[in-house]
Subunit: 190 residues, 2 copies
DNA sequence: GTGGTCATTGACCGGGTAGTCAACGTAGAG
DNA sequence: CTCTACGTTGACTACCCGGTCAATGACCAC
């Protein structure tokens, strides 16, 4: 028994990397303490030593997923554009990211729907809510002086982007962000 | 051993009803042969006698879900309306249905994301595809004579409706279909 | 009645799971 | 060098799962 020691951070990262790989390749159900331990080249007990429980491991894994896929939304360097152009640009960037990270986004949805308690949902909900927060300002600008209500537009945009994420998961190859963008451009208020 | 006999149909319905109830109340993971049998007041063996395997039971349950929630889309009695009014109306009806059946829709998504093989996904995909088929004709009519492309509009509408279904699941109480409809009306082409 | 068909039971099996723990190495402090 | 603190191991427990099956009863045709 016993074996070489590594710093906590390094071990945790290795375990999470193994869990991430298994989840991507075979889905959330395949993420068991044993399989993760084997994939990381350590014993099962060590997983619990570092993450206390399986839920602890999954929470950490969810954190990795959310940090890597949903938390880059920003319109800081777009301030010079007209509001509608900025909105279009933000949507475009987001749709491209959804295509790129569709496997990770699928895992996030798998987390969301695998449980009904708040353990995972609260975290995911917070990330989703950031969508609304990110789109709201520009939507209000776009709506100003039109018949459109800013908050209603923001709700619609969020629904559209999230629906697009489902399309991306359903069929990553055939999903075409350009179709949605083209429609938006065509209904652009004068 | 042995016990009162019931016709196959009646038994299957009772088992499915029990499974449905458990799934709604506690999620898909809670649907085990034992729990379903207990809830239906029968023995575990009988579940397998009637459905052969757990996957068989889940497939049947998914069928019940899809029949009850996604398969009523139709625009037959709306032919007299202008294309755009018809599209609005269809979206409205669908959004209201999503709110009403949000628990069942959530279960459908749980089915979708619980597995990555085609056992459940193919069935759900077929139902989702019917969305596109249902919206395509009216979208083409709406697009005729405008800068909008019919098929692109249809893809956008499907994404919007499916995104709205996620919003409904996230927060059934606060989700407001009217917000989306109002935005659509505001961007309605002349 | 009698025989046969079939729904029904529940104990049972093999297997995978989360989580525990006493024993054991290893490294660093004194 | 020794002692202590802690990372590490893997066998172990308790549990629940899907699935099987011989025994059993209910029902029907004759």
């Amino acid at each position: 028994m016993g074996g070489p020691k590594k710093p906590e951070q390094e071990r945790c990262d290795a375990i999470l990397a193994a869990a991430y790989e298994i989840a991507l390749a075979e889905g959330l159900d395949a993420v068991t303490a044993r399989r993760v331990a084997t994939a990381a080249g350590i014993s099962t007990g060590l997983v619990f030593f570092h993450f206390h429980s399986k839920d602890g491991l999954l929470e950490a894994l969810l954190g990795v997923l959310l940090d890597g896929t949903l938390d880059a939304l920003s319109d800081s360097d777009l301030a010079r554009l007209e509001p509608w152009d900025r909105l279009e640009r933000m949507i475009w960037v987001e749709l491209e990211r959804l295509v790129e990270y569709h496997a990770a986004v699928e895992l996030i949805f798998a987390f969301y729907f695998s449980r009904r308690d708040d353990l995972f949902r609260a975290r995911i909900e917070a990330s989703f809510a950031r969508y609304l927060a990110a789109f709201s300002p520009v939507c209000r600008e776009v709506a100003a002086g039109t018949r459109i209500q800013g908050d209603e537009l923001a709700a619609t945009v969020v629904a559209l982007v999230q629906g697009a994420s489902i399309q991306t998961i359903r069929n990553p190859e055939s999903f075409n962000p350009e179709a949605i963008l083209a429609t938006l451009r065509a209904v652009r208020p004068a």
